[in-house]
């Protein structure tokens, strides 16, 4: 039987949707792969965004984010805690997702984040996607592909890590900017080069 590559399967997944560039397909592919993995912890559900103000108006950052930026400067010491809800200041049809001031200030800084590892779960991982919710509730399971505002790419600096379904906490240097991963073609806007990973719970 002819061996069909995973990429080929996932590319065909998007039929009859218009074809997208391969890196974007890889992005969607990684997250879609997660949906059928058994044994994920079923969390309470996707938190749906409350109605936004009229288009073009950018929502100000949440109170937690403001507290971390005092007079435009980072307060406290490294590593800075970053939550998924603090990453984006707002979303509009015309301007898309806008990065929060807090996130922009963290570019190049040491941060710590909590989340879940998205499959594929190979035996050792040097790269994975960290998600806000366990991937059994993948946002891409809607037929409209929304940009994922609750994921981040994580590259392990040192030894690779065994995969886990438990929540994890990573610490490392944050980098903002569009980058294509050579090995997988994955396109990430925001990455953490992590040197520490703790399994929680």
């Amino acid at each position: 039987m002819k061996r069909v590559s995973t990429f080929a399967i996932l590319k065909s997944l998007l039929n009859p949707l218009p074809k997208k560039s391969l890196p974007k397909i890889a992005l969607f592919a990684l997250l879609l792969m997660a949906t059928a993995c058994e044994g994920r912890v079923a969390a309470s559900g996707i938190t749906l965004v409350t109605p936004l103000p009229p288009d073009g108006v950018v929502v100000t950052a949440s109170p937690i984010a403001v507290a971390e930026l005092v007079n435009g400067k980072l307060s406290g010491s490294t590593p800075y805690t970053l939550q998924f809800t603090q990453m984006y200041a707002g979303r509009s049809v015309r301007y898309g997702l806008t990065l929060s001031d807090y996130l922009k200030a963290l570019d190049g800084q040491s941060v710590t984040m909590e989340g879940y590892m998205a499959p594929p779960l190979k035996s050792d991982l040097k790269f994975f996607v960290l998600t806000e919710v366990p991937m059994s509730l993948c946002p891409f399971c809607s037929s409209n592909a929304d940009w994922p505002d609750n994921i981040i790419a994580v590259y392990m600096n040192s030894a690779s890590v065994p995969p886990t379904v438990h929540p994890v906490k990573i610490t490392g240097r944050l980098e903002i900017g569009s980058k294509v991963d050579d090995a997988t073609g994955f396109v990430s806007m925001i990455r953490v080069y992590a040197d520490k990973l703790e399994v929680l719970g």
Binding site: V93, R94, G96, C141, D146
Partner: protein, 698 residues
């Protein structure tokens, strides 16, 4: 009298020659080492006189043979077309079918890299109706194609409104009629859909395939309606050549481009991304429908007047998270700089003074707009995509208000885009609700046309089939009760239920043949709640008499819907509260049901390849209705390419009298052809409607 021995050979020769002629294919005579030749546009192509197209000959050889010639009706093509071609070459991988399918059948069996020598004329046209035979000689063999230049129509329509219900088969229309109009006591429908009203004097059936397969997609099917040319899956406004470049394929002028040359305004109002195949096919030229950033750039270049729908991800520079553009262009800004008004919310759309606007771009969501059911019944589903999306009627009212200000008339394309998308996702309620919404716009257009001169051709069609149909109704209460009993029986099996299970297993084993043991999944007894024939009582969706939408989709006896082609999926026969794909593909595996959707529903195994997570298009012909000047052209059986000529004939459109667009349709490598410049054209129009006549060299 006996023939001399010499002449006895003649009858034998005659027989041999006759056998050879009948054995050869109709159009091609091959010599031993003649290279394959591809002629684009293909054999059997039809055009309007003066309709511009690119003419490209491919010769698959390391070099053009010395005897290479291209003739049209026996004369050199360059003389007939009045210009010299350009030459180019490329290499293509003959075993790769993704770019060009099995279209060019003499490519079958070829492997490895092939060099193609291309001879290309850009933006030529033929001005005299008639039959034109193209003969290409190469390496001692001649390959031929025949084109027909049709006569210009004599219609007197001023405007054309073309309604495209994507995937809107007759089965979908019928279900929409059940849900939105209901039945009276005599079993007759209370009313018909607007697209079925007595105003629509013509009814026909359209066959939808392209020239590469029996099953089409929305790109080449809409392209057939908009250019009069058959195409290949994923391509629009072009004939697909063998090069990997998606932008160099030979182009053919679209109906919207021709309408603009006649001074008409053109617009589209849809609920998909505005760069999706159906709206794109009204203006775009590309081998690849997925190049949506290039597609919207083409609309701007052409000066398409009104564009309304979704898809801001193809307008945002690539630095914006989620953008699908590959460059740093802010396309919204580019449209504004060109004089367009840009809006991105329903509030802003409704606040517009359409009397003061001539060019409008409205993009109301990041990707495809959400469907009527999610926008109105489950608004939490739409927030991330677009928190303030208009209805299709809001869009099209604005479009008609703006476009109809033009004294020379307009062309508007209205699409019920998401009917098809929800058929793919197998959410029938969403597909039918969008059909009702689409039909309401038909009703508005009919009223508008009758109140505004009665000189508008309105045509309502679909682009291709789907396998949706209704086979009864579901007794939801009974369905749930059987389900509860099933669960209870599994939890606490009684002697009877264990015996029943044993019998079922024994029966399964007993039906196995001596050599093969085949075990089938057990029958899901909840299916006994499906009412068929006399048990399929009329469902009462309680439609609103004005809006025609049901008060609720969750009724006691909803329609029982089946899908002729589908992935493995589960179904609880109720409306889904969020749009979800029926199947999912696990890593390295094959498709299985999406357990986030109807997790406890009845299981149906799939009948599609293991990589498909959604339903696919089907073969059936689709209906078309029409009213207004030129409507009669749509009666009877049509090939999809005939639709273009019906639209053009209704307007009496003669491309030879148009003023050519300012290079808006040229392919990137096109050499400039002689044409009247736009300022001259404007001046000519201003001085009492004089039209600049182009010189065509015969």
């Amino acid at each position: 009298m006996q023939l001399s021995k010499r002449f006895r050979i003649l009858p034998v020769l005659a027989v041999v020659i006759a056998v050879l002629f009948t054995a050869l294919p109709a159009h091609t005579t091959f010599a031993a080492d003649a290279p394959p030749v591809l002629i684009l546009p293909i054999d059997q192509a039809n055009f309007l006189p003066g309709q511009k197209f690119d003419f490209q000959i491919e010769v698959w050889a390391a070099a053009l043979p010395s005897d290479f010639s291209i003739k049209i009706n026996g004369k050199n093509a360059a003389d007939v077309l009045g210009s010299q071609p350009t030459s180019s070459n490329w290499q293509f991988d003959a075993s790769k079918t993704s770019n060009n399918a099995a279209t060019y059948t003499f490519r079958k069996g070829m492997t490895g890299m092939v060099t193609s020598q291309a001879t290309t004329w850009r933006q030529v046209s033929i001005k005299d109706p008639g039959s034109y035979k193209i003969d290409v000689t190469a390496g001692g063999a001649t390959t031929s194609a025949t084109w027909t230049i049709r006569d210009v129509g004599t219609g007197k329509a001023k405007n054309v409104i073309f309604f495209l219900g994507d995937g809107m088969t007759d089965a979908v229309r019928t279900a929409a009629r059940v849900v939105s109009r209901g039945f009276n006591a005599g079993g007759k429908y209370n009313d018909r859909l607007y697209m079925e009203s007595k105003d629509m004097t013509a009814l026909g059936l359209i066959s939808t395939n392209g020239y590469d397969s029996i099953i089409t997609d929305s790109a080449n099917s809409m392209s057939a309606y908009m250019t009069g040319q058959k195409g290949t899956v994923n391509a629009m406004g072009v004939y697909a050549n063998t090069s990997d470049d998606n932008n160099d394929d030979p182009r053919v002028q679209t109906f919207a481009e021709l309408a603009k040359e006649q001074g008409k305004t053109v617009g589209t109002c849809v609920t998909s991304r505005v760069t999706d195949a159906t709206p794109a096919a009204t203006w775009a030229h590309t081998r690849r429908r997925g190049d949506e950033d290039i597609i919207i750039d083409q609309a701007l270049k052409m000066g398409y007047d009104v564009i309304l729908g979704g898809g801001s991800i193809f307008f945002q520079p690539k630095t914006v998270a989620g953008s699908e553009r590959k460059d740093n262009e802010d396309t919204f800004k580019a449209f504004e700089s060109a004089g367009y008004t840009v809006v991105t919310s329903a509030t802003d759309l409704k606040a517009l003074d359409t009397g003061k606007i001539d060019k409008l771009v409205g993009v109301f969501s990041a990707s495809h707009m959400n469907v009527w059911i999610d926008r109105h019944l489950y608004p939490a589903n739409v927030q991330k995509n677009g928190p303030d999306q208009p209805d299709l009627l809001d869009e099209c009212k604005a479009a008609i208000n703006i476009l109809s200000k033009n004294s020379k008339g307009f062309f508007l394309m209205v699409e019920g885009s998401d009917i098809d998308k929800q058929e793919h996702s197998m959410s029938w309620e969403r597909a039918v609700a969008d059909t009702i919404e689409f039909d309401n716009v038909v009703g508005y257009a009919q009223t508008w046309a009758k109140a505004n001169g009665n000189n508008t051709l309105i045509a309502v069609a679909a682009d291709h089939g789907h396998a949706f149909d209704v086979y009864g109704t579901v007794d939801i209460a009974l369905f749930d009760k059987i389900g509860k009993d099933m669960v209870a029986a599994q939890a606490a099996p009684t002697a009877a239920s264990t015996a029943a299970a044993g019998t079922a297993a024994a029966t399964a084993a007993g039906t196995a043949s001596a050599s093969v043991t085949r075990v089938f999944p057990p029958f899901d007894t909840r299916l006994n709640a499906i009412g068929e024939y006399q048990n399929a009582s009329f469902p009462d969706y309680k439609p609103d008499p004005t809006t025609h939408f049901p008060a609720s989709w969750e009724i006691k006896y909803p329609l029982a819907v089946a899908w002729g082609d589908h992935p493995p999926y589960t179904d609880d026969f109720r409306i889904d509260k969020a749009p979800l794909d029926p199947g999912v593909v696990p890593p390295g595996g094959l498709v299985q049901p999406n357990t986030k959707r109807d997790a406890d529903g009845v299981f149906f195994n799939g009948n599609l390849p293991g990589t498909d997570t959604q339903a696919v298009h089907t073969l059936q012909d689709v209906p078309v209705n029409a009213m207004g000047p030129g409507a009669e052209c749509f009666s009877g059986y049509l090939d999809n390419t005939d639709v273009f000529f019906c639209l053009a004939n209704a307007l009496g459109l003669d491309p030879r009298t148009g003023t050519s667009l300012n290079g808006g349709t040229a392919a990137p490598t096109a050499p400039a052809t002689k044409s009247a410049s736009i300022p001259l054209a404007v001046l000519a129009l201003v001085i009492g409607g004089l039209v600049t006549r182009r010189k065509f060299v015969k």
